[in-house]
Each structure stands twice: as structure tokens, then as C-alpha cells.
């Protein structure tokens, strides 16, 4: 039977496609809608958190840190409640990671503070002796790309109906309003930091990457 196909490239290619696509159709499609329903209390990221998430992605933090707590006692003891599907409803892309060179960060906002992260990014071994994480001093001098964060939020609101601007949800507003609200959020974080250059930048209306990424990490609960 297969011999017939080996002399007819077109039908051969069609048969290959059917064989390969079969699993995807059966596995992926049925639960697609169900899994994207948010759990109660899950909210989209604020603009500053989104900007921080971009920093997290830019420096591939997910290459070494997972954001997925498996349902084992050893993991819930170490990191907190195991992950639920709906908690990721606003994660585009997902950031589960595939390797834990460092610990899981799914609920890091519950047990680490702004100044801990500040020290950790500047010199990881200063807070965790023996850490093999690189230092990220450039987070203190690079400015976060807040405009792209705004662009993403506007896009997901428009295209995927992400509930921004609804009651009890993060606000977007116009670009001017968005900048003002991001700066306000940044000021709260900078108040807990020691680095004078960062404090000065925020006072001057700028938002360094470190402020954004801390906002994001603090939101992981």
C-alpha cells in the first residue's frame, strides 16, 4: 500500500501531513477554550508590571527560573500553593521555563521584598552566598521600554478582550495617563530602594529597568 505512495509525491506529501497533524488536532483543540478561563481574582498585569515582564523576557530569566509549581509536597513546602491553569490566563507568552538552575518564581512576591531584589540583581551572591546567577547591573542604568508595554496592553485589550479598564482591573487610559500612572507606581517601588541613581531617575520622570522588573516580581503571588 505504501509502495503506491512512494511513486506519487503529491499523495505521499498529503499522507505525511495527515499522519503528522492527527495528534495535534486530537490533543490541542478540545480543551482550548476551557483552559484559558481565568481563576477568580486573577488580573491582567499593570503597565509597569508588563514593562518588567519584558525585561524578564529580554534577559531570558526563564532560561533558569521556572514559574510552575508542581503538585508535590516538596514543591508546595518550598514555593507555595501549586499552579492552577487559570492563574496563567493573562500570560502571553507563558513563562513556565524548562530548567531550574535557580528556584521557581511563581509566587516569589510572597516571600521576597523590593530591597532583596535590588541587592540580588546588583550582586546575587550578596544575598545568596554561592549563587551562580549573573549580576544584572545594567538593569539600574537602562530605562524600561514603557511605550512597548503600553502598546502590548492596548493590543491584548483590543484583540483578546483582556479586561483592562474594567471595574477593579488595571487602567490603561490614554498614553499620557498611562505614563503618569506608571510613574506613580514606580515611585512607590523606588521609595523602598537604596540606589540613589535609580531614585533620582524616577524623581526625574524616568523608569529604570530594575524598577519595572521588581514591580513584576512583586506581582507574582
Amino acid at each position: 500500500m505504501f509502495h503506491w505512495f512512494e511513486q506519487r509525491p503529491f499523495f505521499f506529501a498529503v499522507l505525511v501531513f495527515v499522519f503528522v497533524a492527527f495528534a495535534g488536532i486530537i490533543e490541542i483543540i478540545p480543551d482550548f477554550a476551557k483552559q484559558s478561563r481565568p481563576t477568580v481574582g486573577t488580573k491582567p498585569y499593570t503597565l509597569l508590571e508588563l514593562a518588567g515582564r519584558h525585561v524578564y523576557i529580554k534577559d531570558s530569566c526563564n532560561a533558569c527560573h521556572s514559574q510552575l509549581i508542581r503538585p508535590f509536597k516538596s514543591e508546595t513546602d518550598r514555593y507555595g500553593m501549586y499552579s492552577l491553569s487559570g492563574e496563567y490566563a493573562y500570560d502571553r507568552p507563558f513563562l513556565w521555563g524548562s530548567k531550574r538552575t535557580g528556584p521557581d518564581l511563581m509566587r516569589v512576591g510572597n516571600y521576597r521584598t523590593t530591597d532583596w531584589h535590588e541587592n540580588h540583581m546588583m550582586d546575587p551572591a550578596s544575598v545568596v552566598p554561592g549563587s551562580i546567577m549573573p549580576a544584572y547591573p545594567h538593569h539600574f542604568t537602562n530605562m524600561a521600554d514603557i511605550e512597548t508595554a503600553y502598546a502590548e496592553a492596548v493590543t491584548v485589550k483590543k484583540v483578546f478582550n483582556t479586561p483592562y479598564d474594567q471595574e477593579g482591573m488595571p487602567k490603561l487610559g490614554t498614553w499620557e495617563e498611562a505614563q503618569a500612572s506608571m510613574l506613580e507606581e514606580a515611585k512607590l517601588i523606588a521609595a523602598d530602594m537604596k540606589n540613589q541613581a535609580v531614585k533620582d531617575a524616577v524623581a526625574n520622570g524616568q523608569i529604570p529597568e530594575i524598577v519595572a522588573i521588581i514591580a513584576y516580581l512583586n506581582s507574582l503571588k
Partner: protein, 488 residues
């Protein structure tokens, strides 16, 4: 050919891809060794500011070796093998020749742009699909060009029946096209909102769905970049180099269709104990074990091709490369299913056993087979004898030692880590803090880095040997012929 007329094959594009293979191999593997040393000696992270950290280099390494090195080698193999088993020269069709050259140029530019953008931190963060949307479009363009080349050459063929290698190339083309398109569905945010960076996009899928599509893709990038095209290479080059017929036609059919049918189901094993539905996890686990059958089917078919001719292992280093490649394919395809068993996965997932598994597969199987292919092709394309057989032999043993150091250290590291994470004392508290599980790995990370370095040195030997073959090898008056496949 029956009428005795010799077809004059055109190797210009195969040669271009050969050079690209070596160039991207050197870049990708060098970065890999740097990464390995960074894990053992973290001080090496901040030598080049933000551009030299592990986190920036890691996607560069995976993209560089998978899509730079491996795909170049696969394309080089395609432009060499296709003409021969289809009995047609690229020269006969100016159109297909132009397509092939365009394929190379756009491909090469894409990989260079990938290097630049990843260094800058422009990434979607999805593993092996990190490139942002403008580059994704370029990838689709050269993939389609390759498709035109495949079906174009098949269209003008003189050999009626498609040789096994061609089946695998077709499967590679179709499956990767499907997987890549669906996983890279994204919305450019600047186009929708009018604000922000034009190169930024947001994934079409969210959370668990995104994970599902990503690992459906990610696992099958392994299937259709690291498996099927490499099998295509070995099905041509091993019989050709040894002068033996493929052991069993029936087994090759069974293995081929079996592999295509089962492979995609196995993607779920990346998501065991995650938030995807339980039945998918179980399916991923079970199908991974079933996958042993078609995988070993191909590997056994290859090894038995050497039946009665095992003495060639002593006389022909190239056969050694290919037999070892098949053996590592078997090792890797038994290791994968073991890791996919739920209870083993609970320990292995997130640990160094996973990169260990990937690397015994790619270093032992993919890279060995691609190097062997080039060793076979280069003397025929450039009409020169291999420059140094003893250098080849040294390279073989150096790299084999490197692989063994790599996977043994990572097995130990991974299992150690997995066991330490779950260790409880008699009062029911966790015994180790996370950092304990990191610092304990230092010796294994060092061994792995040394193993990687040996392998890299071997690759430089390979590059040198090929370079000297092309420039200073003894000129052959006619191509070395070892008969079969399809006896030319």
C-alpha cells in the same frame, strides 16, 4: 543511468551550505562551551556587560546549533543527495537553481539577523521559537523556497520511485512548516496600537494553551529537525559509504510511518505535572514509550546494514562516525521514554538530566551524522581526497570522550538535584535549601564544561581537516565510488 550517460551534478549550493555548516557550528558550539563554563565559574558572566551573560547567550547557542549548524548541514545534504537519488542535476533547471541560491541567501541573512537580535535581547522567550515576527516571516520565506526546491526537483526526476531519504526530507518540510506556523502565531503590537517598538509582538495563545502549543512545537522541532532529516542523511550516506544495501525495506516503511504517527503525541511529556489536562500528560507519557519502536526500527535497520561488513569499522573512520551516531540515537531514544515515565519525570524534570539527554542526542547523533555526511560529500564535491585520515580518527576519539563526560556528569547532576529537592528529614521538613542543590553541582558542571571543550576542539579539527581537504587534499581523477543507494 541505463543509457550510460553520466549526469553532471551541480554542487554550488551544497558547497555554500557546507561552509555555513562549519561557520555556524564553530559559533554555536563555542557559545555552548562558554555557557558550560559560566555555570561552573559564574564570574565569566559579566565579561562583556549585558551581552555576555548566560541568559543572553543561551538562546543564541540553541538557535545557532539547531537552526544555524544543523539546518545548514541538512540543506547541504539535501542539495547533494536529492540530485543523485532523483537522477537529475540542478543545472538542468535554471529556475530551481535560482530558487536554491535564493534559499541559501535568505537563510543566511536570517541567521545573521537572529544572532544580532538575540544579542540585543529581542526574543519572544518561547524555546527554539525565540525569533520575533519579522524574522519569523523570513524563516517562512526560505522554508517555502526549500519546499519549491524539494517538489521541483522531484517533479523533474528521472527515477520513478522516491528513495527513503526523500521520504524523510518531505516529512521534515511538511511537519516543520505546520509546527512553525502554528506556534509562531503572534500579533505585532505596534501595528495594532500605534505605539512602541515595531519588532515586538504578543503571542496569540495565553498561559496553558501557549504552553501546550509551544511543547507540541518544541518537542517536534526535535522530531523534524534533529531526527527525520538526520535519518534522511544516514539512509543515504551509510549504505553509500559502506557499499551495503539497506537491511530491510519493510522495516524502513514501518519505522517511517510509525515515527510520523507517534512523534507528535509525545510532546505532552514536557508538561507532566503541569496544568494541562491529565489525559494529555498520560498520553504524552505513554506515546513516548511507544516511540521506542519506530526509533529503534530505523536505528536497527541502519546497524544491520553493516551485517557481515563490521570489519569496515576498523578500516573506514567514516563508518565509525555513522555507527556511533546510530548507537547514540538508540541511547537517546531509550533515555527519552524513560524520562517521560511519570515517576521518573517527577525527579528528572527541571534538572540537568534534561540538557544531558538533549546533548547525548545532538552531540552523538546529529552532529556526528552531519560531520560524517560532510566527510563523505566534500571529497566528491571538490574532487579531492580527505586531507588527513589520522586527524579524523583523533577527532573521533576526542569527541566521543567529550560526549561521555558530558552525559555522565549531567545524569549524575540531574538525579542528585532531583533527589535533593524532594529530601525530607525525620521531622517532615525539607533538608536542603535551594542553594545547597546548586553548589553541590559544581564538580559536575566543571566536568561537563571540559567534555564540551574536548568536543569543540574536535570540531575545530574537523573544520581544519575539511579546509585542508578543499585547499590541499590530493586531487582525485575520478570520484570514489562505493555503489548503492540506487547504485550510482
Amino acid at each position: 543511468m541505463q543509457n550510460g550517460a553520466q549526469i553532471e551534478y551541480d554542487y554550488s549550493v551544497a558547497k555554500l551550505f557546507t561552509f555555513a555548516t562549519i561557520l555556524f557550528g564553530i559559533i554555536g558550539m563555542t557559545i555552548g562551551v562558554i555557557l558550560a563554563f559560566q555555570l561552573a565559574f559564574p564570574g565569566l558572566n559579566n565579561l562583556a556587560g549585558e551581552y555576555g551573560t548566560f541568559s543572553r547567550l543561551r538562546p543564541l547557542h540553541t538557535n545557532g546549533v539547531a537552526f544555524g549548524f544543523s539546518l545548514s548541514g541538512i540543506f547541504a545534504g539535501w542539495y547533494y543527495i536529492s540530485q543523485r537519488v532523483l537522477k537529475v542535476s540542478l543545472k538542468e533547471s535554471p529556475f530551481l537553481m535560482a530558487i536554491a541560491k535564493l534559499h541559501f541567501v535568505i537563510y543566511f541573512i536570517t541567521i545573521l539577523l537572529a544572532v544580532v537580535t538575540l544579542f540585543m535581547g529581542i526574543t519572544t522567550s518561547k524555546e527554539y521559537a525565540e525569533l520575533e515576527w519579522p524574522l519569523d516571516i523570513l524563516v517562512v520565506v526560505w522554508w517555502v523556497l526549500w519546499g519549491v526546491s524539494i517538489f521541483g526537483l522531484i517533479g523533474i526526476r528521472r527515477e520513478r520511485t522516491l528513495y527513503i531519504s526523500i521520504w524523510y526530507f518531505i516529512a521534515t518540510f511538511i511537519a516543520v512548516a505546520m509546527l512553525y506556523l502554528f506556534n509562531n502565531m503572534e500579533v505585532p503590537t505596534a501595528l495594532v496600537s500605534g505605539y512602541g517598538s515595531w519588532i515586538h509582538s504578543v503571542s496569540m495563545y495565553a498561559g496553558t494553551n501557549d504552553a501546550l502549543v509551544q511543547w507540541w512545537y518544541g518537542h517536534n522541532a526535535v522530531a523534524f529537525v534533529f531526527t527525520t532529516p538526520i535519518i534522511a542523511l544516514i539512509y543515504y550516506f551509510l549504505p553509500k559509504e559502506s557499499g551495503q544495501n539497506v537491511y530491510s525495506y519493510k522495516l524502513s516503511i514501518l519505522a517511517f510511518w510509525g515515527l510520523l504517527f507517534v512523534y507528535l503525541w509525545a510532546g505532552g511529556h514536557h508538561l507532566i505535572y503541569s496544568t494541562v489536562p491529565d489525559w494529555m500528560q498520560t498520553m504524552g507519557s505513554v506515546m513516548s514509550v511507544v516511540l521506542i519502536l519506530p526509533s529503534w526500527g530505523s536505528a536497527i535497520n541502519m546497524l544491520l546494514t553493516m551485517k557481515g561488513e563490521w570489519n569496515q569499522l576498523q578500516t573506514n573512520t567514516l563508518i565509525k562516525f555513522m555507527v556511533l551516531a546510530s548507537t547514540f540515537y538508540m541511547l537517546s531514544t531509550i533515555e527519552g521514554p524513560i524520562q517521560a515515565i511519570k515517576s521518573v519525570n517527577a525527579i528528572a524534570h527541571f534538572t540537568d538530566w534534561i540538557p544531558g539527554h538533549v546533548h547525548d542526542g545532538v552531540l552523538g547523533w546529529v552532529v556526528f551524522m552531519i560531520m560524517a555526511s560532510l566527510f563523505h560529500m566534500v571529497p566528491r564535491m571538490f574532487k579531492r581526497e580527505i586531507y588527513s585520515k589520522s586527524l579524523m580518527d583523533t577527532q573521533f576519539w576526542l569527541q566521543t570522550t567529550g560526549i561521555v563526560l558530558y552525559f555522565t556528569s549531567m545524569w549524575i547532576a540531574g538525579i542528585t538535584q532531583g533527589m535533593m529537592w524532594r529530601a525530607y528529614d525525620e521531622y517532615g521538613s525539607l533538608v536542603y535549601s535551594f542553594i545547597d542543590t546548586v553548589t553541590v553541582l559544581h564538580p559536575y558542571y566543571t566536568i561537563r564544561a571540559v567534555g564540551g571543550l574536548l568536543y569543540l576542539i574536535g570540531f575545530f579539527m574537523f573544520a581544519y581537516n575539511i579546509y585542508k581537504t578543499i585547499t590541499a587534499g590530493r586531487v582525485l581523477d575520478k570520484e570514489p565510488v562505493n555503489a548503492t543507494p540506487v547504485a550510482a
